[in-house]
Amino acid sequence: MKRRDFLHDLSHIGVASLFANDLVFGLELQNNNSYLSNTLYPGKILVLVKLNGGNDGLNTVIPKNQLSNLSNARPHVFIPENKIIDLGNKDLGLHPELTGFKSLFDEQRLKIIQNVGYETPDFSHFRSMDIWESASDYNKFVTSGWMGRYIENKHPEYPNSYPNTQYPDPLSVELGSPSLLLTGKKSFTSFVARNPEDFREIITDFDNIYDTSSNRGTKLDYIQLVGKQSNLYGARIKETYDSGVCNFDYSPSDLGSQFEKITKLISGGLNTRIYLAELGGFDTHDTQVDQSDHTKGAHSTLLKTLDNSVLKFMQNMDDIGRSDDVLVMTYSEFGRTIASNGSLGTDHGTAAPLFVFGNKVDSTILGNNPVIPSNVQWQDNLETEFDFRQVYSSIMNQWLTVNPTTEQDVLFKKFDQIPIIQAKYIDTDGDGVSDDRDQCNSTPLGAMVNTDGCEIFSLPAENYSIQTNGVSCAGKTNGQISISIQNTEYTYGLSIAESESTYTLNSENGHQLVIDDLEIGTYTLNFTVEGKQGYVQTFEIGITEPPALSAKSSVNQKGKTMTLKLSGSDLYYAEVNGERRSYQLDTFTLQLRAGMNTVRISTPQDCQGVHTEKVFISEQVKHYPNPVRSNLNLVIPGEDTKASIEIFSRSGSLVSRYEESIPFSRVVTINTSRLTGDVYVVKVNGQTVDQTFKVIKR
């Protein structure tokens, strides 16, 4: 069983005194379910880096066996041979700025795939980037992104009811502006975390139901959903970002700062598995290189930024022990023309090399060196050797996990895989445990597994329907437990520790059982399944007296009322501050006053008990401005003449405390100018006031 189903079901169990014993699983329930798997394994991360504008592949990964033709074909931008970094392999070299790539290559953490593109290339940035991000054929217009579809395939219900307890974190995070890549068929699947450090809770009570059959309703529904998600995801992003670390500094650049954010989010414990960073400026039609030194110029600056960002990211992941779990992939809409143009640049081209980084990559260089014609024509372009969707398919199959519908949903058809991840790290059965650690390598998809990758047999808790009848009166022993089991394909054993008795539920008794003559007490029911060793499902059941008076109260501080929901009797007495009334209703509302109130609920039968509650109703304090720069004004209504005001820091420590008398204007002003900019909790206390609120100090 999947843990998310289990947790989901907990809220639907019909027996009041039932709880499922999590020891059954030998797992910690609080560990969030890994998004890409069902195991305790912390989960793999994919970081995509978009190079906007069309990266000049021939000046990035340089075919050294083609140098003389290259220098003829692109005299304006050609990199001199003595400056090229030699990979010592396949006659390939790297641009002189890619020293970090070189060291990652030497550490077998870089995979280079040559000549990645698609059939019948399109030379428009927008169309070609759409093709890459949507994973469509050249002549097909698809309006969602492959990663968006991947996430929707994994989370068919998204975005409704997300975030939730299983997935409290965004399913993907973008550091730039929203892209087609993470646009699903139904909605954006990403959270845009441009300013994780600067999250402000937007107070909304967006809880309306809109008519989504109209355009207007659709928009309203969407805005409301984003508002809600923004509150919830934003809080998680800020929390993890604030506690995250980044010990290897990125050199200052926009991409570097995006990677710094990703680093902090991951190290701070954000359970997001897909990140998208972005670097623009690769559309180097002119002045791609400096005229006097081709190793300098716009393109070289971009590569330097990319090189530094990836290298530092891998070092940071080493630092926090997560580098085994990350994979970084670059992509760009196309390469550039073989021939250079007179403006020291290159124009829109076709195939180009693609990089994948990670501890687990198969670092063999894949593909042949591009062939440069000796007499290059202006419109000549490079041949595609690998379809970009082969890369996608390989990453999904070898790094992420797939189910039978994934490839069809995401890529619309099958593509031949290429080796990207080393064979021993591949997770064939998609249970989140790579083959080298997987002792059961053919776990059915979706099965819950342990860290060895073996299935844990389990049944949903709702498989067991248990009902109790309490004793009619204290002292009697006519309590009853009725059991019925839904899944009838197994034979179940049941032992009750307290009565030292055992039972069997099978087709003979129709998987049903009634246990009579029980006295008041707690009974521990242990269910086992024949042939499934190690499986135990435990319930604790209470046999009780007739229902006691039960009362649920909710207090409306603003309206100064208390609403009671009662059960156990037909007639109730309610006493508010000594004043008694009777009600023949289950639900009613009592008027309270500011200050301390005593509410006492009873029934005509003394044995049913009394419900007593003390409620403090506070006057409603208003405060402004927020954010505050220096003076914080508190408007304290009511008649109190004094109030104590305490200011707590985010961590909960008391920062300052004031005893203030409340003037006739009822405005108390607190000077906050010595507080540093942050969020503070302000507590106002008085005889009839007890209020807490947050303020932001600028």
Partner: protein
């Protein structure tokens, strides 16, 4: 898409033939229809139904940059025909003036510009630089950037009830440049003027002129193109984005791109003259030595046209031939009609809309010498336009969002300064002497506001005028199927709420402090209340607030919450008394003013936290 574009049928057939994935192809094609729900009245016949405040608001929503009550007032006694006539008047684009003088003194200006002085609020864009080689900061730095940006915000803020500035935005999105980074301030200014001056002109003339506009020549590299290796950038975008659209709907070929690149090579601009010299003229140059004088051969999409290569300055004439050739295609009119519809009515298109709306509009455009306004007049007067599935169905762009707020409370022309000194509230309305000259100066506020709108909200809300993300414009205005949903994401929604709170509740922060507390500029409550009919009646006041700020009927809770926020422990007659003490006596009562102002701020917040607040 349209049946007229046979390409599509071919596509489907092709996929069937190849037997690949036809299901998802069909799905993708159908998706477009799913995103536009239940459009009826697919007719351009003149609308003859009720033309009351709701219909007027709808018309204004789609033709103004930011709706506000004064536009509604302008249509108060007009019928639909009269309203259309009013709306299709030309507006003006004021010359940018110096509003930066609190930051930079006359001495510094004298050093920079060839003139005696640049006084407050004087025009100064056309002045030459004193030095031959100004520094980067001098070329691109603050005072002129702010002046030009403000002249755009000012034009929108003070716009007449005219469609002119909305058309300006339409053109800026359709044919964008990242203006300021290219040719300094004058280049940007020239580009904006060019857009503004062509809103009511022939789109064909506009395309001719924008091709050789300095900032466009720079933006898409035409000025760098060399005849041996012509640059294809502009040659592609003029077709794909500016005139005939993307394949497969339009079938220009890669060869067409190369041939147009050859026909246009030789055009460049006079960088030095534009950037440094007196005046603000756009000065394109045709360098005959750099022109490809060979013949250019085009595909069947352009009727296998041949443009004969020309020697000398005659080569410049090939541009007109290219433009003529492009505008002769049917696709040009369809593409422009489509873009007009998507911008002014609704972005998602269906086959039926293509057939019954787009095609007739395309014809009007062609028959009227490629006029943008003639098809729009018909469209905005049509039965189709006044369809309640279209009303209040779009998410405001950031500029519409922020401007509708500022315009509604008239914060620029009529603000009140506010300061809390720790004990007392000070309003410039009651104590003008309490405040200094700088904070009282309207131009200082304009400069501060421009900075906030540009570099804070412009970026954070995802739309900075003059800096579109790419040559395609803003994705929310073109990227299907998401379209206007692009404006809203977890980051922008937070900023929108912040902007609303800043301007409607707390007031705009001026970067000036007295003691520890900053000064804010807030709405003038006296004049604002007077824009309402009978504001003393709380229910009528609430109705009017909702009508002004909310697109369509709000959920019932909003009315209740507004009532709570405004009354907040006082009763209705007390409300009337307080309001009358603000608007009915010679000098308003300060305590009533402060009390009602605070309540109104809370009411604005209620409105600003609804989803409807973002729709128009």
């Amino acid at each position: 898409m349209a049946k007229e574009t046979e390409t599509e049928i071919d596509l489907v057939k092709m996929f069937y033939d190849q037997d690949i994935d036809h299901k998802s192809l069909e799905k993708a094609l159908n998706q477009r229809e799913n995103t536009a729900k239940g459009f009826t009245n697919l007719s351009l016949n003149p609308y003859a139904g009720e033309f009351g405040p709701n219909q007027k608001k709808h018309l204004l929503n789609r033709t103004m940059v930011g709706y506000c009550h004064r536009h509604q007032k302008d249509l108060e006694n007009l019928n639909l025909d009269q309203s259309i006539d009013l709306i299709f008047r030309e507006d003006s684009f004021k010359e940018p003036t110096n509003i930066y003088y609190w930051e930079k003194n006359a001495e510094e200006y004298r050093e920079r510009y060839e003139s005696e002085d640049v006084g407050p609020n004087e025009p100064f864009i056309e002045r030459a630089y004193r030095k031959l080689r100004p520094t980067f900061e001098e070329q691109f730095g603050n005072e002129r950037t702010i002046a030009i940006n403000w002249s755009i915000y000012d034009g929108i803020y003070n716009q007449m009830t005219s469609i002119h500035w909305k058309l300006f935005l339409f053109l800026h999105n359709l044919v964008p440049t990242q203006s300021f980074n290219l040719l300094g301030h004058k280049g940007a200014y020239n580009y904006f003027k060019l857009l503004f001056n062509h809103c009511f002109a022939s789109y064909k003339d506009f395309i001719y002129n924008i091709t050789i506009d300095g900032s466009m020549l720079s933006y898409l590299n035409l000025y760098l193109s060399k005849k041996e290796t012509p640059d294809e950038n502009y040659a592609r975008e003029i077709q794909e984005l500016f005139t005939v659209g993307k394949r497969p709907f339009s079938k220009f070929t890669e060869k067409d791109v190369r041939e147009i690149a050859r026909a246009l090579v030789g055009w460049t601009h006079s960088y030095e003259e534009i950037v440094y010299d007196q005046g603000s003229e756009n000065i394109p140059r045709f360098e005959e030595w750099n022109h490809d004088t060979g013949d250019k051969f085009f595909s069947s999409f352009y009727g296998n046209r041949i443009i004969r290569g020309k020697e000398g300055q005659a080569g410049a004439g090939e541009l007109q031939e290219v433009v003529d050739m492009i505008f002769e295609t049917q696709e040009n009119s369809i593409y422009i009609a489509r873009r007009l519809y998507q911008f002014f009515v609704y972005p998602a298109l269906t086959d039926e809309i293509e057939d019954k709306i787009i095609k007739p509009l395309a014809k009007i455009y062609r028959d009227n010498n490629y006029s943008l306004v003639e098809p729009l007049k018909v469209l905005l007067k049509s039965e189709h336009f006044f369809n309640n599935q279209i009303e209040n169905s779009l998410i405001k762009s950031p500029i519409e969002f922020s401007m509708s707020i500022l315009k509604e409370i008239n914060l620029v022309n009529d603000g009140v300064l506010f300061h809390w000194d720790g004990n007392n509230q000070h309003f410039s309305l009651f104590e003008p002497e309490y405040f200094g000259e700088k904070e009282k100066d309207q131009s200082f506020f304009k400069y501060q506001l421009t900075g906030t709108l540009n570099w804070y909200y412009g970026k954070e809300l995802g739309m900075l005028i003059s800096d579109p993300p790419s040559v395609s414009g803003w994705p929310a205005l073109y990227q299907e199927p998401v379209y206007d949903l692009f404006w809203i994401n977890s980051s922008t929604i937070t900023r929108r709420v912040q902007l609303m709170n800043d301007y409607l509740k707390w007031g705009a922060w001026l970067d000036i402090f007295i003691g520890d507390n900053g000064i804010q500029r807030r709405l003038n409550l006296v004049s604002y209340l007077k824009t309402f009919e009978n504001p003393k009646n709380i229910n009528s006041f609430i109705d009017q607030l909702i009508f002004r700020f909310i697109g369509g009927e709000p959920s019932s809770k909003i009315r209740e919450k507004l009532n709570q926020a405004l009354l907040n422990d006082i009763n209705e007659s007390h409300w009337s008394d307080e309001v009358s003490k603000i608007i009915e006596i010679q000098s308003p009562d300060k305590s009533s003013y402060s009390s009602i102002e605070w309540r109104l701020g809370n009411a604005f917040e209620v409105l600003g936290l609804t989803g409807e607040f973002h729709l128009f």
